[in-house]
Amino acid sequence: MSGLDKFSEKMTRRVARATSRRSLLTLIGGALTGAAVIPVLPVSRAQAQGHGGGGGADPIAPQTTGNPQDPGDQTKCDYWRYCAIDGFLCSCCGGSASTCPPGTEMSPITWIGTCMNPADNRAYIISYNDCCGRSACGRCSCNRNEGDRPMVRPQANNDINWCLGTASAIYNCSTAVILGVALEQK
């Protein structure tokens, strides 16, 4: 035991003689700065670019209309027309915000609400037509539910499967079609 004591005392004294307190501060400062740099490394940036709310690291190119009256990225859950959507965005599934992916059929039975367009601050009537006939897309899950009502009001509930009136009741993804401009509220 005394041998270990002597050894550690010898080493400690050697370090104390050979280094200054200022060099210890330098070492700690360097470590702090180095740790701060880790989150800005490219690896971390790539992981942070999630799409569609719960999309994770699925790489999907942005889709914009280029029209200043229709701002935003249609593959993102925060796109203005998706204010009451619940499902997978067809924009991420081979379709668009208003068309179905190939091989699916658009449901004629829909639930309809209004969304505020940030470009002109007017309410637009939006129809959430589901696309049906292929298994769930699974990309860009988006669940915003503004104006969603409980199941006792099925005509305004978006948790039920709206693949009605189609050849198949299998849900693939959801669109948000503009039907028109809503009247001004008095």
Binding site: P108, I109, T110, W111, G113, I125, L164, G180, A182
Partner: protein
């Protein structure tokens, strides 16, 4: 402008073809605003009935060219205001009466009987207090049988 022009045209032709009861939408209190009625149709009815009111055979009976036949038989007028989709729609009485009158003129002007008086807010407010539930289908079948029998006389 096309979406505004279409119902206006339909209202105009409908009004010309039938009784003056639903005449000028600007002066008749039953049709205060055709634009508002159309919007309420879109927001509360069209999702299931479809834009042209043709419906889906299994779930939503057709209204186009059909719905005003109910006005031709006793009990039919009350039935139209008590069916679940009408009675429980999230609309105040006045707007519900308005969209009901509007949908009759819009989707079935030919079958509106002569002397038809438009629904009023008070009437719709009274009728929707007793909404139909599961018995709606049975009542509907008996009314349809009644006016089909009348037609074949």
């Amino acid at each position: 402008m096309r979406w505004l022009a279409a119902p206006a045209l339909i209202l105009a032709t409908g009004a010309a073809a039938m009784t003056p009861a639903l005449g000028d939408p600007d002066t008749n209190p039953a049709l205060q605003s055709a634009a508002r009625a159309r919007q309420n149709w879109i927001l509360t009815c069209q999702g299931c009935h479809r834009a042209d009111a043709t419906g889906t055979p299994q779930t939503t009976p057709t209204m186009a060219g059909f719905v005003a036949k109910f006005l031709q038989v006793p009990g039919g007028r009350e039935y139209l205001a008590r069916v679940p989709g009408v009675a429980t729609a999230a609309l105040p009485d006045a707007e519900l009466a308005e969209v009901l009158n509007w949908s009759l003129v819009r989707f079935d002007p030919a079958n509106i009987p002569a002397g038809f008086q438009p629904y009023t807010a008070a009437e719709v407010g009274r009728l929707r207090q007793t909404p139909l539930r599961t018995e709606a289908a049975v009542l509907r079948a008996s009314l349809v049988a009644r006016f089909n029998a009348d037609q074949h006389k």
